[in-house]
């Protein structure tokens, strides 16, 4: 049963590794540029999942303190609430992800205007012909 406990306590990391590697493979192996961008998104999302999974504590609730109106809160135990820091970091990372995605899409539009295709090998063909001239 120890092995089961081990797997249960670690499987979240392994799941995110699988998702991340799907994205990573798409980024470096796919020849369609749009698919690369999609892979980039998957990769970053997996990192976000990973960070969020480190925030959890068994038996804890979301990090919003129970409070009355205007009164001080009761004594707060750190074990009652989840770790807020990974959430904060990931809010920042989500924004970074959105921004990178926007710029990448803008670049894709520029590339499409120029070559009328998003397939990397076709673009390389066109470049070869240009170089030959």
């Amino acid at each position: 049963m120890e092995i089961m406990d081990f797997i249960i306590s670690k499987y979240n990391y392994w799941m995110y590794i699988i998702i991340m590697m799907i994205g990573f493979y798409a980024m470096i192996a796919k020849t369609n540029l749009a698919k690369k961008v999609v892979g980039m998104n998957i990769f970053q999302t997996a990192i976000i999942l990973f960070f969020i999974s480190t925030a959890s504590k068994k038996g804890a609730t979301i990090p919003i303190i129970q409070h009355g109106h205007g009164e001080a809160a009761d004594i707060i135990h750190a074990a009652q609430y989840m770790n807020p820091l990974p959430h904060v970091l990931m809010l920042t990372a989500i924004v970074v992800m959105v921004s990178t995605f926007g710029v990448a899409i803008a670049l894709l539009i520029m590339i499409y205007r120029k070559y009328n295709t998003l397939e990397e090998d076709e673009i390389l063909e066109i470049l070869k012909i240009e170089n030959g001239r």
């Binding site: 919003i64 989500i94 803008a106």
Partner: protein
């Protein structure tokens, strides 16, 4: 694309729902202290209302309500509010972004002036996120030409 009678339904629903979405966006920004939410989330919701209008009407119609100049100013304004609050703290004598010093000019104790400072920067973040997401959407959707739809 859209036939006329469908257009009428979509436009009417959009007209009805847009103010509600915007109000909800403002609520999410302002209520970030007490519930999940905050500047980025609220800004996204506000931007969604404009994007809905682009989908239901067209780009020209939206640009009549929020011109490119205004949008550009909003982009900067949000970050200026954020950095400005930081600089205000610096001028009042504390470190950059140390909101507790704001109790000198606000009617609140240091803890509550921190709370108000947080609200201030969240509003700044909301402005920037809204304006930037709308601007990115318009640029990407129209390939940078902003010419969809006819002049009215």
């Amino acid at each position: 694309m859209i036939r006329d009678f469908e257009g009428v339904i979509i436009k009417t629903v959009c007209r009805l729902i847009t103010p509600v979405i915007q109000l909800y966006g403002l609520y999410v920004i302002a209520h970030g202290h007490y519930s999940p939410g905050g500047g980025f989330q609220g800004g996204c919701i506000l931007a969604a209302s404009f994007i809905l209008m682009v989908l239901a009407y067209d780009i020209k119609e939206v640009k009549k309500r929020m011109s490119e100049k205004i949008n550009t100013i909003f982009c900067s304004l949000g970050v200026i509010i954020y950095a400005g609050i930081g600089l205000l703290c610096l001028i009042l004598g504390a470190n950059f972004l140390d909101y507790s010093i704001l109790h000198k000019i606000l009617p609140a104790d240091p803890a509550h002036s921190r709370s108000l400072g947080i609200l201030g920067v969240e509003i700044g973040v909301g402005f920037t996120v809204m304006a930037v997401l709308v601007s990115i959407f318009l640029n990407i959707a129209s390939g940078g030409e902003h010419e969809e739809g006819e002049e009215r």
